[in-house]
C-alpha cells in the first residue's frame, strides 16, 4: 500500500474582480512509497507550492484529497513537518529554542533533560554547535535553514515536506546543505516530498521526479525515475552517464513541452523511458 497518496487533487483560487475561480491545478494524482524521496519540478505558477501546502494542511483541496498512512489528512500536524523556503523560524527565539519548541510539541511526555539532550543532538547533527544560542537574525541563510532542517527532522514526522528549501541560500552553501540533507535522509529513511525549480538539485536528491505543466490549470505530466545509484554526491553525479540524459530530458520538458501541454489543455503524453531528443 502506498504511504502518501495524492488523490486527484484539484485546487481553485477565487478569481479577482468578478472573473470566475482560477484553477491552479487539476487532478493531480500520484503516490509516494514509504522512504521515497519524490521531487516536483515545474515553472513558477504551476502550483507546486500550493500542492505542498495542501499536503501540509495549510490549504484545502477543492476536489480530491490527501491520504497518509491510510488516513485522510486535512489539518496541519506533526506527522507532516515542513521545511520552508523562507525558513520560518521564530525570530524572537534562539536556534536552540526554535528546535526545542518543536521537540516539546512532538514529545510532550519527555522531561526537561531528555528534551535538552535530544535538541543538542540535532544541533550537533546539522553543525550548529556553538551557534545554537544565537537568534536567526544573527545567522546566515544557510545556518538558518540548518535550524529549519533540524526542527523538521527532530520531530520524526511521517513525511517531510520541503518547499524550495535551498532557493534562498547562496550557491556555495547550497551544495553543502544538500549533502547534509542527503546524510540525514539516509540516516532516518524519511519519506520526503520536495518542491523545487532547480533541476540539478532534484536529480541529486530524488528517487523520482514529478514534472508539472505550466499553470493555470497545471497538470502532472509524468513522473520519471532517477536510476543513479546512491550514495550520490555532487562530484560523482556529473560523471554519471545518465545524469546528463535526465537533465536534458527535464530541461527539454520545462522549455518545450510544459507549455505545449498547457496550451492544448491536456496531459502531455506519458513517456516512461528517458528520451534523448535534443532540445531545440
Amino acid at each position: 500500500m502506498p504511504f502518501l497518496e495524492i488523490e486527484k487533487v484539484t485546487k481553485y483560487f477565487p478569481g479577482s474582480n468578478g472573473m470566475g475561480d482560477l484553477c491552479v491545478f487539476r487532478d493531480i494524482h500520484f503516490h509516494i512509497e514509504k522512504g521515497e524521496f519524490v521531487t516536483m519540478v515545474g515553472h513558477s505558477g504551476c502550483g507546486k507550492t500550493t500542492l505542498l501546502n495542501v499536503i501540509a494542511g495549510f490549504e484545502t483541496a477543492n476536489e480530491g484529497g490527501i491520504i497518509l498512512d491510510g488516513k485522510e489528512v486535512t489539518d496541519p500536524g506533526l506527522d507532516r513537518m515542513v521545511v520552508f523556503q523562507n525558513f520560518s523560524l521564530m525570530p524572537w527565539m534562539t536556534a536552540y529554542e526554535n528546535i526545542r519548541i518543536a521537540v516539546k510539541a512532538a514529545y510532550p511526555d519527555w522531561d526537561r533533560q531528555r528534551v535538552n539532550e535530544y535538541v543538542q543532538q540535532y544541533i550537533d547533527m546539522v553543525g550548529l554547535t556553538g551557534s545554537e544560542h544565537k537568534r536567526p537574525a544573527a545567522l546566515s541563510g544557510g545556518m538558518r535553514q540548518r535550524v529549519g532542517l533540524a526542527r523538521a527532522f527532530a520531530v520524526q514526522p511521517k513525511v517531510l515536506l520541503l518547499d524550495e528549501p535551498f532557493a534562498q541560500i547562496d550557491a556555495l552553501t547550497r551544495g553543502s546543505i544538500q549533502e547534509e540533507l542527503i546524510r540525514m535522509w539516509t540516516a532516518t529513511k524519511n519519506t520526503v516530498f520536495m518542491v523545487t525549480h532547480d533541476v540539478d538539485e532534484a536529480i541529486l536528491l530524488s528517487d523520482k521526479i514529478a514534472l508539472m505543466t505550466n499553470g493555470p490549470e497545471a497538470r502532472l505530466a509524468e513522473i520519471i525515475e532517477v536510476p543513479i545509484p546512491r550514495p550520490r554526491s555532487r562530484e560523482t553525479l556529473i560523471d554519471h552517464p545518465e545524469y546528463s540524459q535526465i537533465r536534458r530530458y527535464i530541461l527539454n520538458f520545462l522549455i518545450e513541452r510544459s507549455r505545449k501541454g498547457q496550451e492544448q489543455g491536456q496531459v502531455v503524453s506519458k513517456l516512461s523511458a528517458v528520451s534523448d531528443q535534443p532540445s531545440a
Binding site: 495549510f58 496541519p76 515542513v82 521564530m90 524572537w92 519548541i101 510539541a105 537568534r135 520531530v155
Partner: protein, 269 residues
C-alpha cells in the same frame, strides 16, 4: 573602523549632554533674574528657582509625613497617585491585550469593532467622570476608572494591529506543531506582537499619568493632582512648581521603564 564610528558617536552624545546642561543653567539664570527676590519670606509674582529649590528640599527631606487630610508629604501623595495609576492601568492593559489579540486574530470582528474604538478613543477620559461617579458612587474608584479609560485604547489598537500583522509563517509553524491554545498564545502570538503591544503600553502609560493628575484635581482628597490644586488654593506657588516638576520626572521614569521593556521584546527578522 567600527571603533572610530563608536567613538564619534560617544562624542556626539557627550556634546548633546553638555548642551542640555548649558540650556538648563541658562534657563535657571534667566528665571532667577526675571523674578523678584523674596522679601521676608513673601514673594511677589512667580517664585524664582532658588525659592523653589528651597521648598523642594523641605518637601523631599520629609516626604511621608501625614498631618491630616490637607497636609501630607509629597511621597504619600505620589504613592496614592501611583496606586491609582497602577490599578487602572494594569486592569486596562490586561483587558486591552486580551481583547486586542482576539480582534487581531479575527479580521471580521476587528472590522466590526473598529468604528466603536475609533469613536471612543478620542474621548477625554475625564468626560466619563460624571457617569462613573453616578454609577460607582465612589470617587476613588471613579478616578481609577478614568485611568482605565485613558489607557485602554492605545494598547487595544496596537495589540489588534500587531496581532493582525503577525506573519502567516509563524502561525503556520504553530499549527504544524499543533500547539495548544495557550501555547500558541504564549509562545507565538504574544512574542510576535510584543513590540507593537509594548509600543501601545508605552503610549497608554503616558496618557494614564496625565489622566491621574487631572482626575485627582477633580475628586480631591489625595494624590499629586490634588496636592497641586491644594497648594494653589494655599497660594504656595513654590510647591506647585515643584509638584509639576515631580509629575514630569515620574512620567519620564514610567516611560523609561517601558522603553526598557520595548528593547527587551524587540526582535529583527
Amino acid at each position: 573602523m567600527n571603533g572610530t564610528v563608536q567613538l564619534a558617536e560617544a562624542r556626539e552624545r557627550q556634546k548633546a549632554w553638555l548642551s542640555s546642561l548649558l540650556f538648563l543653567l541658562l534657563f535657571l539664570l534667566f528665571w532667577q533674574l526675571s523674578t523678584k527676590p523674596s522679601v521676608g519670606g513673601r514673594t511677589e509674582g512667580l517664585p524664582g528657582p532658588l525659592a523653589v529649590a528651597e521648598r523642594a528640599w523641605e518637601m523631599v527631606s520629609n516626604p511621608f509625613y501625614d498631618r491630616g487630610p490637607n497636609d501630607k508629604g509629597i511621597g504619600i501623595q505620589l504613592l496614592y497617585s501611583l496606586g491609582r495609576l497602577g490599578l487602572g492601568y494594569i486592569a486596562a492593559s490586561v483587558v486591552a491585550i486580551f481583547l486586542g489579540v482576539v480582534l487581531g486574530l479575527y479580521p471580521t470582528l476587528y472590522r466590526a469593532f473598529n468604528p466603536y474604538i475609533q469613536v471612543l478613543r478620542p474621548i477625554s477620559p475625564l468626560a466619563w467622570m460624571p457617569l462613573f461617579l453616578y454609577t460607582i458612587k465612589n470617587s476613588v474608584w471613579a478616578a481609577i476608572m478614568v485611568v482605565f479609560m485613558s489607557s485602554i485604547w492605545p494598547t487595544l489598537a496596537n495589540t489588534a494591529f500587531g496581532v493582525s500583522s503577525i506573519k502567516r509563517d509563524y502561525l503556520h509553524v504553530s499549527s504544524l506543531l499543533q500547539l495548544s491554545w495557550f501555547g500558541r498564545f504564549y509562545k507565538v502570538i504574544l512574542p510576535a506582537a510584543a513590540p507593537a503591544i509594548v509600543a501601545g503600553l508605552r503610549i497608554s502609560i503616558g496618557g494614564a499619568w496625565i489622566a491621574v493628575v487631572a482626575a485627582e484635581m477633580l475628586i480631591g482628597g489625595t494624590g499629586i493632582g490634588y496636592f497641586v490644586w491644594n497648594e494653589w488654593n494655599n497660594l504656595q506657588l513654590t510647591s506647585v512648581i515643584f509638584a509639576i516638576l515631580t509629575i514630569g520626572a515620574v512620567g519620564f521614569l514610567l516611560d523609561a521603564g517601558l522603553g526598557r521593556l520595548a528593547k527587551k521584546v524587540s526582535y529583527t527578522e
